[in-house]
Assembly symmetry: C2
Homo-oligomer: 250 residues x 2
């Protein structure tokens, strides 16, 4: 993997916010990662980075508050995108599906530049300080998802509890799939793996498949029960068929 391939894609939006000189931010990230890989993260100073990038220290700190921040150059933009996406939700959006879609924004950021993402993943697993930084970033994503769900579940029994648990489950499912993909060196389709992982959360916490949408009368009271009585020797397909019939599913 060459150091030039490690530079993240130019991100017009973030650059415009940061000060109107797109190549400098990109050059700082590329220089930083080249040095992190060559010398190690701890032995690279901000002075080393700016010397290689050919800019002054003040330019570095205009883009990044600290050396740690240059490792995660796009998380602030992604957090802002996620917050905006959730704020733009309507009451018609099914909440669990909505937070799953919000999590996919993070995956998209990683998938924009697989080589850079893999390199950063390896760096993060090796440097304890970066692990701690990443935990705090993950925590902020989780709180953004939980805040949205708390709003949607406001006034419902266990609303904040369900919001926190679902947000944590979404983040864990997303990260399980993302990290498998990063560990593999970005082989295969990350989006498919993340979709599958988030499907588990939706099946656990979202409305049952075939459920009637919010506001419409449901197929029974929330606490009603289904009882299947079967001889133990009955073939499994017949038991499943009975369950599907009882639930009114095809």
């Amino acid at each position: 993997m060459s150091s030039s391939s490690a530079a993240p894609r130019r991100d017009g939006k973030a650059e415009a916010v940061a000060g109107g000189k797109p190549p400098m931010r990109e050059a700082l990230v590329a220089a930083a990662f080249r040095l992190f890989v060559e010398r190690g993260y701890e032995r690279t100073t901000v002075d080393d980075i700016v010397a290689l990038a050919g800019v002054g220290r003040r330019s570095f700190f205009r883009y990044f508050p600290s050396k740690e921040d240059v490792v995660f150059p796009d998380h602030e933009r992604c957090l802002a995108d996620m917050t905006a996406f959730l704020a733009a939700s309507s009451q018609g959006d099914e909440p669990v599906r909505r937070v799953c879609d919000a999590a996919r924004l993070v995956l998209r950021m990683y998938a924009e530049n697989p080589a850079f993402s893999v390199q950063r993943y390896r760096l993060t697993t090796q440097v304890p300080g970066l692990r701690a930084y990443e935990l705090s970033v993950v925590w902020r994503y989780e709180r953004a998802l939980a805040a949205y769900l708390r709003g949607r579940f406001a006034g419902q029994p266990d609303g904040t509890l369900r919001a926190d648990v679902i947000a944590a489950a979404v983040v864990a499912a997303h990260n399980n799939a993302l990290r498998s993909w990063l560990r593999s060196g970005a082989q295969g389709d990350a989006a498919t793996a993340v979709d599958h992982a988030l499907g588990l959360v939706q099946s656990a916490f979202g409305p049952p498949a075939g459920a009637i949408g919010p506001g419409e009368p449901g197929p029974g009271e929330p606490d009603d029960v289904m009882v299947v009585v079967s001889r133990r020797g009955a073939p499994l397909w017949r038991v499943v068929q009975e369950i599907e019939t009882a639930l009114g599913r095809p």
Copy 2:
């Protein structure tokens, strides 16, 4: 809240590990918290703490690697207890219930000394460095639970995914209840609140209530019956999984 009530209970086990002088560790924690409350965490140095406790710097670092560690004096013991508890599990233990029981060990640690726990919670919400430290501790609990579940789900479809998601859900549920209790100033029964929160996770991921466990009834009777009782909203895959388990099929 007096500073003396803020000292954590003496913990014979941890003291024995740390070096056989029970009162010194306790005195250091009490002195540290008295200063943290009076002057603030950032403005308190290790020198201040040892001066108030009447011991030397070396004594402090014999018990605590850093100033941060004195804020969380019992997490290492609790992590060790959790790991030992999970390692002592049998194949007969239902895995989701087992990780919920493991999480209750953390609650018990907080509930041992409510005044100290409330004081620490307030400190942690105010000091960013302590928030980061706490996130890393929470992460270690979550990984301990996930490692156990990964072992139990080994070879099953989506085994590591389900392990990670359930571990995150357990931690989020536990912390939702724990933090509500801490925010309230330790009013009410924390154990009941945590039981209720963990019940949500068990209903989402554990076996359906009322399912007959494998091996309980004699499987040989041609006319015996299996009864699955489930809420209508339970995801179909989980119902099917339980049936497979009850029937002893892979």
